[in-house]
């Protein structure tokens, strides 16, 4: 699965959350980053180039700060110009059909405020309806959003969790599935550099961890099988 992350932010260098996500980006050939304001500082979007780029990927994720329940202006312009008729919709406009469409939202207000009775009054699902409608119109499958609330208040432990969740969001087909996360973790532990680890037996410990995760999976599948058999 190839993933493209389209980032829009008027000043990415001054955003600690965006910087954190850029630094967290996975080292994988299957995942690419495309920063709109950096590519088009004069605001003139190369529509054909953007359309060609989209065709190469299976999953397209839009990463931006959720300004006034919407995106920064360049991303809005990108939607207006790139998702044109005969490409994304209308007669022969099926070029994005079947691909995945997702949002990665950086949000300044706390999560609990996004509900009826909360300070914002509406849920993220309600406020992102225009994006859901775009995905529907162009035949893309709308994914659950990755929402990052109040990044500056996150603890170090929360940030580490976010780093991993972000990587999984970009790399795994079903990032909420335990089984899928296990497979991803085994792969990452196999590939992680041994050079940045000082302990002599680091390879042994990593192998033990991989073995443990795989053994646990066998046990979990067996338990599930017993439960299913018991149902019959």
């Amino acid at each position: 699965m190839k993933t493209l992350v389209i980032i829009s932010h008027p000043n990415i260098n001054e955003s600690s959350s965006q910087q954190f996500l850029v630094q967290s980006f996975p080292d994988s050939r299957e995942v690419s980053m495309h920063y709109l304001e950096g590519t088009y500082p004069n605001g003139k979007i190369d529509v054909k180039k953007e359309q060609a780029l989209l065709k190469e990927y299976d999953r397209v994720l839009f990463q931006f700060p959720f300004y006034w329940y919407s995106s920064p202006p360049l991303l809005k312009q990108w939607f207006d110009e790139v998702l044109e008729e005969h490409f994304a919709f209308g007669y022969r406009g099926n070029k994005l059909q079947g691909k995945e469409f997702g949002l990665i939202l950086i949000i300044g207000v706390g999560e609990k405020e996004y509900q009826t009775g909360g300070q914002e009054g509406f849920s993220i699902s309600e406020l992102t309806k225009p994006y859901q409608a775009i995905a529907k119109k162009i035949g893309m499958h709308y994914l659950k959003p990755l929402t990052i609330f109040q990044f500056p208040y996150m603890t170090e432990a929360d940030r580490m969790k976010l780093l991993i969740r972000y990587q999984q969001w970009l790399m795994i087909e079903k990032p909420d599935s335990l089984k899928a996360r296990e497979a991803w973790m085994v792969n990452q532990l196999e590939e992680t550099s041994r050079e940045t680890l000082d302990i002599a037996e680091s390879s042994f410990i990593l192998e033990q961890a991989i073995e443990k995760i795989e053994d646990n999976r066998i046990e979990l599948d067996e338990l599930r099988m017993h439960i299913d058999n018991n149902d019959q």
């Binding site: 630094q23 580490m160 969790k161 550099s193 940045t196 990593l206 961890a209 443990k212 338990l223 018991n230």
Partner: protein
């Protein structure tokens, strides 16, 4: 659980020694994942035990 604890302690040592932030996050996530698996195993075992004790199944 003793095995798990031994492994988790070793992973924590690795995490402290790692010189790479992304790697630290990965090792912490490995620990969290193993604990999550253990919890899921307990839940499934509980579910299985509950079903085995279901009197409706005793006759079969």
């Amino acid at each position: 659980m003793e095995d798990e604890q031994w492994l988790i302690n070793r992973l924590e040592e690795l995490l402290k020694k790692s010189r790479d932030y992304k790697q630290k996050a990965l090792l912490q996530a490995a620990i969290n994942l193993i604990l999550e698996q253990e919890e899921r195993k307990e839940q499934l075992q509980g579910e299985l035990d509950g079903r085995l004790w279901n009197p409706g199944n005793w006759g079969s």
